[in-house]
Amino acid sequence: MAQRTTEIIVGLFMIAGCAALLFLALQVSGLSPKSAQSTYTIYANFNDTGGLTPRGRVSMAGVTVGSIESINLNKETFQARVTMSIHSEVDNIPSDSSAVIRTSGLLGEQYIDISIGAEMDSLKAGDTFYSTQSAMNLERLISNFASGR
């Protein structure tokens, strides 16, 4: 086969590989060019984070506005301290909003939903949510129901 033809076919092969990788990046893993946008950090203390994991999403009215950076144990209060990074464009979360751990669907992943407060002041970088609601624990719910409390 002519050298030129081989070059072209191998070139097409490599391009197909790059296109496939691009497809995996954009369509399969949902990597968007603006994912490196600037964020700010806020904290929330929970009594029980349930199955919350880092990289999970933080949403407001169902729209994703940030992600969970890390989950640590606060050794003094024995609460879980969740660090969240929120997109900078969402800079007007009322300061009396509360962070609620919810589950998407019955078996889905857990995420943090911010339920909006009424205060005029907004949360700034480094602030902590005043009120939180822990993960729904099905076992505890059933045992509470069974013991009639």
Binding site: T6, V10, M14, A16, G17, L24, Q27, V28, S29, G30
Partner: protein, 260 residues
């Protein structure tokens, strides 16, 4: 009795010395300074033989594996009423595991065995030694382009395999079984991470490509130069490559995805 023990020891020494020879062989292949002007056309020809000609089997098996995953996943997930999770199931299995591993196994069978047979026949017909007589280093002229071609082609093939597989899964899941397309892609995108899943899969396929190509060219170069020797070297290539891929896959998975 003593003879048996001696044979056992000889077997062990043979294995160790074969490892040593393959290491020295690899150093000889990679150690030479590449000369782009003469090396590149040779590499191109091998990329065509190893990569482009393997494309058909990769695409067809990727399509069918994706379709089977879609069908099986739907049957299992519909028991829990969560058919929508089929997208993430197909994508994660393909990108993390099946893409690199099945591609490497097919690659060893399709391209690795051909490399071994080709180099083995070159050795049996004394083409390699006549090259040396002419002052051409066969390691650089014959072996290096083949090794590099396998190393480059394998990740490309694995990525294409994953994409075709996901497309096949979508064909079955969305177009045939009626999973909602939005949740198919949406679930997939929310659970697949580019660096953790896609790039780790690519790293896996790079490692597999290197190992498969190395085993293939080494077995060809080291074979007994008879027809029986070539046939046993070809068999060894496929068996060793498959075992190495499956074993390395466990190790790589444990390193990449095991949280401990």
């Amino acid at each position: 009795m003593i003879e048996r023990i001696a044979a056992f020891g000889r077997l062990g020494l043979d294995i160790v010395s074969s490892f040593g020879r393959s290491g020295r062989f690899l150093a000889g292949v990679l150690g030479g300074v590449p000369r782009p002007a003469t090396g590149f056309p040779l590499l191109l020809k091998q990329l065509y033989a190893v990569g482009v000609l393997s494309l058909a089997i990769i695409v067809v098996s990727g399509l069918f594996i994706g379709m089977v995953l879609g069908l099986q996943g739907y049957t299992i997930l519909s028991d829990y009423g969560s058919e929508a999770a089929i997208g993430q199931m197909i994508a994660l299995t393909l990108v993390r595991e099946l893409g690199p591993v099945v591609t490497a196994l097919l690659f060893a069978g399709r391209a690795g065995s051909a490399l071994t047979a080709e180099i083995g026949l070159m050795k049996a017909t004394e083409q390699l030694s006549s090259m040396e007589m002419m002052g051409v280093d066969p390691l650089r002229r014959v072996i290096a382009p083949r090794l590099w071609a396998g190393f480059i082609a394998m990740p490309v093939l694995a990525v294409i395999f994953s994409v075709v597989g996901i497309w096949g899964g979508m064909l079955v899941g969305v177009d045939w079984l009626g999973v909602f397309e939005g949740s198919f892609w949406g679930n997939m995108q929310s659970s697949v991470d580019f660096v953790d899943d896609v790039l780790n899969g690519v790293i896996k396929s790079v490692v597999f490509g290197f190992v498969c190509a190395w085993i293939a060219v080494y077995q060809g170069y080291d074979c007994v130069p008879t027809s029986a020797g070539i046939s046993s070297a070809t068999t060894k290539t496929v068996v060793y490559s498959s075992l190495a891929v499956l074993g390395l896959d466990f190790v790589l998975t444990a390193v990449m995805f095991g949280d401990f």
